[in-house]
């Protein structure tokens, strides 16, 4: 699909009904899967003619910007534009090129300074076969550039405001985001931190301080977790001084198996101080069972919600069950920033206070630290971007769920694929749509998808109990971890970019790349 800037002369000719070619082209483009743009610098002339013909501007805006995005024209664009003979058009080309390196400009102006971009007249564009094709570019798991373009006006605005506001550390956007996340999850406190990993470390450290009166856990203290996760989960346990006790997963949700937790507790008894369940791929763990087990054993629960913002179990958001919930704002996460970031949620005011201290060098007052702290705050700039994106969180979740529904419907007859399930009490956000390949080589299936231009990923190819870091430092395993071993060899995550939901051709290509080999 192309990224197309339509010059204002084409738009006016179409909208003012002056030229049938421009009208037909605009209809064709609006009805296509291409991304359409104007620049902020074009709005003045558009506004003049809207006023001249008494347009209902609110209605026009709603309709027009349902298909067109507005690219910010920056001060630097303006300075650079003055180096061109036609600075006004150069301003457009410079701004557009920043967003679309390989974009196409459609204009009636034959002298348009293309700045290296392709330029077509309306007539050329109308008859251009490539613009009618559905495209065959690589389909990625996520398309963060596309997501940026989708939210461009809001994001550019908050970035510029933050830059001029100059409250770069713990500015008002951080506390606003904390309040919004706390409300969304349904807890008393949310504390912005520098990453999802740090959210885990700070939570575990704060629990050691609260429950043991010590800065760190001891190596003999075991924290039960899953070996089928990203390394950060186990790494956080080590960084908090404790030892991970790896317990097997269930193969229906790939989450930790509560029955295995019970058995592990019988074996390890009081050595176990807590459970760290991971809501993998956005499917919540069985929190009824896990919380019941923890209460009976008198141990804590810290939820790893890195992939599960928006997921719920029996109507309750993940991150609201345990002593803390730990969220990640890594760019690819359900709520992704433009860098690292994280959040701890909790109903425990004492823990919240300790975590706030730990994120700022260990003290309420930076000159009088009480604990071994970190420089682990969430940046104001990240918080501002996340606030803008939070408004679209449920919309994106719904789109991913629709994609999952499409895949479920279209893959159900492929007997060698095991599709993801959704427990009846779960609201799965499909951070990943992960299938399991049965009876054939997962890696060969992945290679074939790649040949069809469909990217896929293995989350995760190496279980934590096979990683050198845990062998060299400290770990325990319970049982043979057979399900984990099965999962690492057979799982495959497919493209689940929410914005693909509007582009059925892409999803059909994913479907066809499987069906071509559904023998």
């Amino acid at each position: 699909m192309a990224k197309i800037l339509v010059d204002i002369n084409v738009i006016l000719d179409a909208v003012l009904n002056r030229d049938e070619i421009s009208s037909a082209l605009l209809d064709k483009l609006a009805d296509s899967h291409h991304e359409l743009f104007i620049t902020a610098s074009m709005v003045a002339i558009l506004d003049y003619f809207l006023n001249k013909y008494n347009a209902n501007k609110a209605e026009f805006k709603k309709k027009f910007f349902s298909r067109f995005k507005v690219i910010t024209t920056s001060g630097m664009d303006a300075l650079n534009a003055l180096s061109f003979e036609d600075g006004e058009d150069a301003l457009i080309a410079l701004a557009f090129r920043r967003v679309a390196e390989n974009g196409l400009i459609i204009t009636k102006d034959k002298k348009f300074p293309s700045n290296g971009l392709s330029v077509l007249t309306p007539e050329e564009a109308l008859y251009n076969q490539e613009l009618s094709d559905e495209g065959n570019e690589t389909i990625s798991l996520l398309d963060l550039r596309k997501e940026y373009r989708y939210l461009m006006e809001e994001i550019d605005d908050v970035i510029l405001r933050c830059a001029s506001g100059a409250k770069y550390i713990l500015g008002p956007e951080v506390s606003k985001l904390e309040q919004k996340i706390a409300n969304y999850i349904g807890v008393k406190h949310a504390i912005g931190v520098s990453s999802g990993t740090d959210a885990l470390v700070l939570s575990l450290r704060a629990l050691a301080i609260k429950l043991r009166g010590k800065e760190y856990w001891d190596k003999d203290d075991l924290i039960i977790t899953t070996p089928f996760t990203f390394t950060a989960t186990g790494e956080a346990i080590l960084r908090a001084g404790a030892t991970p006790l790896f317990v097997d997963i269930t193969l229906d949700t790939y989450n930790i198996d509560p029955q295995e937790i019970k058995k592990a507790l019988q074996t390890y008894g009081n050595q176990v101080v807590g459970i760290l369940p991971v809501h993998l791929y956005g499917h919540p763990c069985d929190m009824d069972e896990i919380m019941d087990i923890a209460h009976k054993a008198g141990i804590f629960v810290v939820e790893d919600c890195a992939q599960s913002l928006g997921a719920s179990w029996d109507g309750r958001q993940t991150g609201s069950f345990g002593e803390t919930g730990c969220f990640s704002f890594f760019p690819s996460k359900p709520l992704g920033g433009f860098g690292d970031g994280g959040m701890v949620t909790t109903n425990d005011s004492e823990l919240a206070e300790t975590i706030r201290m730990l994120r700022t060098h260990g003290g309420r007052d930076k000159n009088r630290p009480e604990h071994i702290g970190y420089n682990a705050r969430l940046d104001t700039l990240q918080a501002a971007i996340l606030l803008a994106k939070l408004e679209h969180l449920d919309e994106f979740t719904e789109k991913r769920r629709q994609i999952a529904g499409f895949y479920n419907q279209n893959f159900k007859e492929i007997e060698w694929l095991i599709l993801p399930t959704e427990h009846e009490k779960a609201f799965h956000i499909y951070h990943q749509y992960t299938v399991r390949v049965r009876g054939r080589s997962r890696d060969e299936v992945q290679e074939k998808l790649e040949k069809h231009g469909v990217k896929s990923m293995v989350y995760y190819p190496v279980p934590l109990h096979k990683m050198e870091v845990f062998h060299r430092t400290s770990m325990e395993t319970f049982g043979d971890l057979e399900n984990t071993e099965t999962a690492v060899k057979s799982v495959l995550s497919l493209p689940v970019e929410p914005l693909y939901w509007g582009e059925k051709a892409i999803l059909k290509r994913v479907r066809n790349s499987f069906k071509g080999d559904s023998r």
Partner: protein, 71 residues
């Protein structure tokens, strides 16, 4: 020669007259646009005054800028 034609809701093909008037060729290849809903017509519905199709936009804009910025 290619000529754009639009299919109406009733199924008729309407070649665009602006294209047709200069056609000398005996054979015409129709380029049919299948538009479910016309975006431009939706936008035009927001206008309370019918636009002057013959208006010289460049001249109109130049006059506007002169009035606004040159007093």
């Amino acid at each position: 020669m290619k000529v754009i034609a639009k299919r109406t809701e009733e199924g008729y093909l309407i070649p665009f007259s602006g294209n047709l008037k200069n056609i000398q060729a005996d054979e015409v290849e129709l380029y049919v646009l299948l538009i479910k809903k016309s975006f431009t017509e939706e936008l035009r519905k927001t206008f309370k005054k019918a636009p002057n199709r013959k208006l010289n936009l460049r001249e109109e804009w130049r006059k506007h800028l002169e009035e606004k910025y040159c007093g």
